[in-house]
């Protein structure tokens, strides 16, 4: 028997702020993203898109385009191998528009040419004759009987309709407040453009290297549209330059494969920034009518709301967004009676879908504004009002589901409120003031305000979705010694799932060298990198696979403790285990949404401090404090990175970011006109990570990605309200809203909780 070498302490185990293995290639510029892929002799794809929000296609003439130099293929809907449609949750979207276009930017034809320029010019040379149809670009109008219908006329433009009916929604309360709120369209604005490289195979199939959030879901949608069995379509994850929900839907995947199959050549497609604004789904804009009632001592009695979400021309993930907006529409509070009616509508706007915190972001802006109104009406401190109503373990949310495992709502509120405030402004240096180097004020009209908000959301997929992840863990010996290889299909989009897998494997197996392999479709699905679910699901799968590997090693150690043996000695043959991990089952949604539809819940609180120049309407966010329920921080540094990054996106939605639409067309499809927070806009963030482990999650680690975007936005707006006294019922808050108190009413009268199909136009 060999003597085990003295064990050195493992570096980079669970709970440590280990650096990412993919960081060195990223800082060196060696890490290849989708748009960096190339093949000798590859072609380049381009897309022709609709200039109309709604029109019939009378004729398409591709002759001129086909005759252009370097052009290898021009495809319209007539050239498609099948009539299959695609879509994340409902297959309602044609691969290329057939007869009708339903939004500005809808793909009509695709081209492959020797170079990108030739491809773009050829796409432009395609002549399409359109006959304009009447378009509907207001989601509430789309739900009325007289609206033009986009799809099946029977569905009346309703994509999804969710009612949550809890207790007695007609209960009476001492104090009642109400309001109408709006959330505008936000763009995920991942820096990496949509990009993929398709390589035709010998077998008539195709290999697609793609930047995506969910390889297997792409595969499920791509293969039928190519007329191929799934075995002939192979997906490999390319480097992903951020996602935030925008890569959950198919964009160019099918197009680039079609072009590769048609030309029998490798084809790369990359969207430019303008095209990216048209090419991917955005956050659903929302109109919300809320009514809250409470007792005089500040206990919530009821919450009623009607929420209309603009789904755009195709359904995408609208079903889940509507369900989230409704289920979490009363916030992380004990609410005995509720009626929330949320509807997602088809319109002729660009399609909307997933974006970080989807559904929960929209309703949080509404209910948190209401909580502040209620606090004012009751004369109770807003933080105290929230704490008094905070959900506790065992309490039921408005879907009647008890919260089990961990529900530290009062804790996140208390600890967030206790974080140190920033110092008083000490100078009138313009750099420190709203407007910054623009030198717009010397501090005369600058007012400080503090705002607070709390939010909740589900983690993982809900409502009986078969949510699982598969992991293969292999421990073997090579020249470098013992190595553990972890293979999953989980998309690393920047969030750090590579770290989570690596740290879990290292901790479980006691092996320092862990290699996380490139995700692809040769292994089972890992589900999407969304819904804050990868740590729970793929982390859980890796953990389970590691434990099986360990059991085999223990068997090979024949009674000796693994700590006392040289593991290398046990690896005459490698040990490999593949495990598919599922979370506990959830229930299907019923008519009143009263059931256990969710796996678990995430909570966070945010406090914002802002300086507002009331003369110019400019806002400087001075500090954000946050306490977040994370269960367990597998890598605290990476968790803080998620918190800070999510807060930046929440800040963007609060005061900067809006996809501006005019008659269904995006008016600001560039980073010149769509403003993103820069280093000058982002204040210091003070974080408190609250670790109450969840019994069902790996090491108790809940997801962390979404909560930072949920309550940061309403906290900032609350702070601006506190500074200015303005009502501010819409995000993003614009300078005019502050200076002139501009209101942004929808023009529809809706009684909170009522069906928006009965809305009346306000004259």
């Amino acid at each position: 028997m060999t003597i085990a070498p003295p064990k050195t302490r493992l570096r980079g185990v669970v709970g440590e702020s280990a650096p990412r293995a993919d960081a060195p290639p990223k800082v060196k510029g060696e890490f290849l993203y989708g748009s960096d892929l190339s093949r000798e002799g590859m072609l380049h794809g381009a897309t022709l898109r609709s200039p109309h929000a709604h029109a019939r296609i009378a004729r398409i003439d591709v002759a001129a385009a086909r005759a252009m130099p370097g052009v290898r293929a021009v495809l319209t809907s007539d050239d498609l191998p099948t009539r299959e449609k695609f879509g994340l949750m409902r297959a309602d979207q044609p691969v290329l528009a057939t007869r009708v276009v339903r939004y500005v930017g809808e793909p009509v034809a695709i081209v492959a040419a020797d170079d990108p320029e030739q491809a773009r010019l050829a796409a432009r040379a395609i002549k399409v004759e359109y006959e304009a149809l009447s378009a509907v670009t207001d989601a509430v109008a789309a739900l009325q009987a007289d609206a033009p219908k986009l799809h099946d006329p029977k569905d009346g433009n309703v994509i999804e309709d969710v009612r949550v009916v809890h207790g007695d929604p007609d209960a009476r309360a001492d104090v009642v407040v109400e309001g109408e709120y709006e959330v505008a369209m936000q763009d995920q604005a991942a820096l990496g453009p949509e990009a993929g490289l398709a390589i035709p195979g010998q077998d008539g199939g195709v290999t697609l290297h793609i930047a995506t959030q969910w390889l297997h879901e792409d595969l499920r949608q791509i293969a039928p549209c190519l007329g191929l069995p799934e075995e002939k379509v192979r997906l490999v994850l390319a480097g992903v330059g951020g996602a935030f929900g925008a890569r959950e839907d198919v964009t160019l995947q099918i197009h680039v494969c079609l072009l590769a199959l048609a030309t029998k050549r490798a084809v790369r497609m990359t969207y430019g920034r303008e095209e990216s604004f048209y090419g991917h789904v955005h956050r659903h804009p929302a109109r919300m009518w809320y009514r809250h009632g409470a007792t005089r001592d500040g206990r919530l009695v009821f919450v009623r709301a009607t929420i209309v979400l603009d789904g755009g021309a195709y359904a995408s993930s609208t079903f889940a967004v509507v369900a989230n907006a409704a289920c979490f529409g009363a916030g992380p509070y004990r609410v005995p009676n509720a009626l929330i009616h949320a509807v997602g509508a088809y319109t002729n706007n660009p399609p909307t879908g997933a974006m970080r915190g989807f559904g929960a972001v929209q309703s949080c802006f509404g209910y948190e504004a209401q909580m502040d109104k209620l606090a004012a009406a009751l004369g109770i401190d807003p933080v105290e009002l929230r704490a008094r109503n905070a959900l506790e373990n065992g309490d039921r949310i408005i879907t009647d589901q008890p919260i089990e495992g961990s529900a530290p709502v009062a804790e996140v509120i208390r600890r967030c409120a206790a974080l140190p405030l920033p110092p008083r402004r000490s100078s009138n240096d313009p750099l420190e003031l709203p407007g910054g180097a623009g030198n717009l004020t010397h501090g005369e009209g600058v007012k400080r305000g503090v705002g607070f908000a709390v939010g909740l959301k589900n983690v993982c997929y809900s409502h009986a979705f078969d949510d699982f992840s598969t992991a293969r863990v292999r421990v073997e010996r090579d020249q470098g010694g013992v190595v553990a290889r972890v293979h999953t299909a989980a998309s690393e989009v920047g969030q750090g799932i590579v770290l989570v897998c690596e740290q879990i494997a290292r901790t479980e197996l006691g092996v320092q060298r862990v290699i996380v392999e490139t995700p692809d479709t040769t292994i089972g699905s890992a589900g999407s990198s969304s819904a804050s679910r990868q740590t729970w699901m793929t982390g859980g799968a890796v953990l389970a696979a590691c434990r099986e590997v360990k059991a085999e090693l223990a068997k090979r150690a024949r009674g000796r403790r693994l700590e006392d043996v040289d593991v290398a000695e046990l690896l005459g043959t490698p040990v490999e285990r593949v495990v598919t991990h599922r979370h506990r089952p959830t229930e299907k949604r019923n008519d009143t949404t009263q059931n256990d539809g969710h796996v678990a819940f995430l909570f966070a609180a945010h406090r914002a401090v802002v300086d507002v120049d009331v003369d110019t309407g400019l806002v400087k966010v001075v500090q954000i404090a946050t306490a977040q329920d994370v269960g367990k921080a597998i890598n605290p540094l990476a968790v803080i990175g998620q918190l800070e990054g999510g807060i930046a996106q929440g800040l963007g939605l609060a005061v900067m970011e809006e996809v501006q639409l005019k008659d269904g067309a995006v008016r600001n499809a560039s980073f010149t006109d769509y403003l993103l927070p820069t280093m000058l806009d982002m204040p210091p963030v003070v974080c408190d990570l609250i670790e109450f482990p969840h019994p069902d999650a790996p090491y108790g680690a809940k997801g962390v990605g979404e909560p930072p975007t949920i309550s940061s936005t309403p906290a900032i707006v609350a702070a601006i309200r506190a500074a200015t006294g303005r009502a501010l019922e819409r995000v993003p808050v614009r300078p005019d809203d502050i200076v002139f108190g501009t209101s942004s009413r929808s023009g529809w009268r809706v009684v909170a909780g009522d069906d928006p199909r009965g809305a009346e136009r306000v004259r």
């Binding site: 800082v27 060696e30 992903v240 330059g241 969030q495 800070e644 980073f671 280093m679 000058l680």
Partner: protein, 155 residues
């Protein structure tokens, strides 16, 4: 047109179109994929390179204007496995998530510290405000810049 320029200390030649950008030349013609293409409008800094020592957005420089110039990209910084101090600091501080903005930030930070070895928070924010990061919220990037400054990065 035929273009001759110095890239990372080496004489390079490339065939390029008249109106092509330096970024396209670097990426598509010379295979230097480190400089990124997030906006190609001069708004995000992900394509930052040094041209004759000046920090520029490669997407805004016409290929022709780079003729005969000395261009330094992110690929010039590390010596094999040995990371440049700014790169090391970004790795250690947790300033890298998706990493798409990272090459631009690294080049811009190296240029900042060359000119101002001990920048204040305000100076860093100002100097890097042309670089967008969508993932990190900038907190760890700020920390990475301070760390590299503390390590006495000067060259």
């Amino acid at each position: 047109m035929r273009l001759r320029l110095q890239v990372n200390g080496t004489e390079r030649e490339a065939e390029a179109r008249e109106h092509e950008s330096l970024l396209t030349v670097l990426r598509e013609r010379l295979g230097l994929w480190g400089s990124k293409n997030a906006c190609e409008q001069g708004e995000c800094g992900s394509c930052s390179v040094l041209m004759d020592g000046d920090l520029v957005c490669a997407c805004l420089v016409l290929a022709g204007a780079a003729e005969g110039r000395d261009v330094r990209t992110v690929e010039d910084l590390a010596a094999g496995e040995h990371l440049h101090p700014v790169q090391r600091a970004f790795v250690d501080a947790g300033a890298v998530q998706c990493g798409f903005c990272t090459p631009g930030f690294i080049v811009a930070t190296a240029a900042l510290l060359r000119d101002n070895p001990e920048p204040s928070d305000a100076e860093i924010r100002e100097a890097l405000s042309g670089n967008i990061c969508r993932c990190t919220g900038y907190g760890k990037i700020l920390e990475a810049v301070h760390r590299s400054a503390a390590q006495g990065y000067t060259s």
